[in-house]
Assembly symmetry: C2
Homo-oligomer: 388 residues x 2
């Protein structure tokens, strides 16, 4: 055991999984010893969790809780809302837009892709144009956050543009890395389906995913073979707290605990906290002369820094891990080595943020990047000083 | 629940209790469910803990493990090593020197007090002079750290001065808030008794205290009534892992875990880590123009700042608690409101230190103290940059 290992246990600053608060982890531990998932006690916890999810999605319908990763929930949206041959429009601005593309193609949709440059947000006008080119568009699929680039997509504006110009098809949003950090108003914006995952803004380990359909969307289920992700079947049982298949029961207990905590300050307050941290992280970037990769449309869930030319991005991420026990994320595919992704998503305090920035500065310094140690942290602190 | 409470759980920056690492707490939890303290399994754990204590005290004798607070261990030293009417010299440089005075007086010693100004260390020559004034001095009692002022006493120098000038009496050191942070070489320095407590450098909750006697000191036990703190009785049993009275068994399991962790980097490495953090804290003080109360002899276990004249020290400590969930300690008695005590003792990382300093800056800023937010943290980071 080294000095580092002795004093600094591993910490997560990657865009999922995010840190799990002790009480949230403990709720799962306590439950694990004695919970039968076909019992009134469990149903009650499950229903309470579903109830508390509503304000985070901004809907009066109960979001469904699935035992799957976020990708499973994306698939659930596709298999329940599209049929083979359906025309769909996919916004592809990175790895997760690509996932919508792969999924809809795997399920034999006719896919029109709007390719957006990495680091940029989609323009609502471009989505409208794609939908107008393809009059029978059944669904538009996009991300709320493109996690691979740290871009926040203008979901509300896209929905408004489409609806105001008469688009009657579905809008399906992957909000996996966004929910909690950004406000979602599913009903108000008329977004038919929203997908999320436990290991992001919820402060849970991976294992649960959520799909939320509006009242209107429930009336538009498609016909195609489906079984594990048959949402109509889930909806009936979950109204009573019974999932169709075995639920990830300890995680449901943890979820209830996390949601009670979020509820104490409200979905708006939770998002406002993320906005404060994100502003501070951006202030640090400026002070450190680090370019924000998602320059014009940065997410409040994570801040993505372009790696300076003289620095090896992969070594930097490795150093953060080995030297300080901190898991940052690098870039994927063609962004490998070019960006560092620093998440401040879920149960992250201003002090966690400061620690992450301090570690980033130490690591950059050790990699030879010229900086005045502490200047990024100081800028973040000055940004945070005016916040509650 | 407020935003603060949601994101920033309470944290300890007071000079004891100190943060308890998760694995250390867990060792106590795991033990708690099934441990009988009169069993071979328990004796083995107890003996291992006693063995691992030796390098921290710098002795070949097994330190004794008591179920008491540190004050209990101080009393144990007094009742086992002094008799009524014995002449003793007490170094009083603060609240804990005063405790030696009260204890030895309660036990009817003839007490000569060396009064040292708050914030100053005792001079070895002054101790020698006191001992020479009182030729039959049975014991000299002092602190290794005066926790109330943040002063590190020159124990090695005091012992060397006394021994080199022919002092044959006892030297008894309260190292409660020092052990772990500062190297102790009990055998080499010929310090007869050293006292310590679990909730300081050991990263444990309160409840255990330690008394270590050298071989020579074991031959000089005094005669007076004693029972709970009868060290000879403890010594016999503890050689086999059996404490005379019911041991605080879960804490002993936690102790073993903490000591195994410290052992992985060694007592010297553990102290070196404290020295790094203390240097960084002092660098921050300088950048923030905060006076070090223990100017010339600051401890590596805690840094004590004089509260600037325009700031209300009690409000400052309260603000750190209410606003950031951080427990700093204020001054006691006549130092009330005049100092802030910031401990970096035990299992404290560079990032913990940065968090504490950041919080102190935020709180000072909110109390109207003029500072450039982040400048203290930056100075600390620059100090830490060159450390492993």
């Amino acid at each position: 055991m080294t000095q580092r290992e002795l004093f600094t246990p591993d910490r997560l600053f990657c865009p999922g999984p995010t840190p799990v608060p002790r009480a949230v982890a403990q709720a799962g531990v306590d439950a694990g010893s004695s919970i039968y998932h076909r019992s009134d006690e469990f149903y009650k916890v499950f229903r309470r969790a579903a109830e508390l999810l509503k304000p985070l999605f901004g809907t009066t319908e109960s979001p469904l809780i699935l035992a799957s990763s976020g990708t499973g929930a994306m698939e659930a949206a596709v298999v329940n809302l599209t049929a083979p041959g359906d025309a769909v429009v996919v916004v592809k601005a990175g790895k997760f837009g690509e996932r919508w593309e792969k999924l809809t193609k795997a399920y034999e949709c006719k896919v029109e892709v709007i390719a957006v440059a990495a680091g940029k947000a989609v323009s609502p006008a471009d989505v409208l144009a794609a939908v107008e080119r393809q009059k029978d568009t059944r669904a538009v699929l996009l991300q709320a956050n493109e996690t691979s680039t740290g871009v926040a997509m203008p979901v509300a504006l896209v929905a408004r543009e489409l609806r105001s110009k008469g688009y009657k098809g579905l809008i399906i949003v992957d909000a996996i890395s966004s929910l909690g950090a950004h406000v979602m108003r599913q009903d108000e914006w008329d977004v038919d389906a929203v997908v999320a995952g436990s290991q992001k803004g919820f402060g849970l380990p991976p294992g649960l995913a959520f799909v939320s359909l509006t009242k209107k969307a429930w009336g538009q289920l498609s016909r195609r073979p489906r079984f594990y992700f048959d949402l109509e079947r889930e909806r009936k049982g979950q109204a009573e707290g019974r999932s169709a298949w075995t639920p990830a029961s300890t995680l449901v207990f943890s979820l209830r605990e996390a949601l009670e905590q979020i509820d104490a300050i409200g979905a708006e307050g939770f998002a406002a906290h993320h906005a404060q941290l994100a502003r501070a992280a951006r202030a640090a970037a400026k002070a450190l002369k680090l370019e924000l990769f998602a320059g014009a449309a940065p997410s409040d869930a994570l801040t993505v820094f372009s790696v300076p030319a003289a620095v090896d991005g992969q070594k930097l991420v490795k150093r953060l891990r080995q030297r300080f026990g901190m898991f940052f994320a690098g870039g994927q595919d063609e962004l490998k080595g070019k960006i560092v992704r620093f998440a401040h998503l879920g149960f992250v305090s201003r002090f966690d943020l400061i620690d992450g920035l301090a570690a980033l500065e130490f690591a950059l310094h050790e990699e030879g990047y010229p900086l005045s140690l502490g200047s990024g942290v100081a800028a973040a602190m000055q940004s945070l000083a005016s916040t509650p």
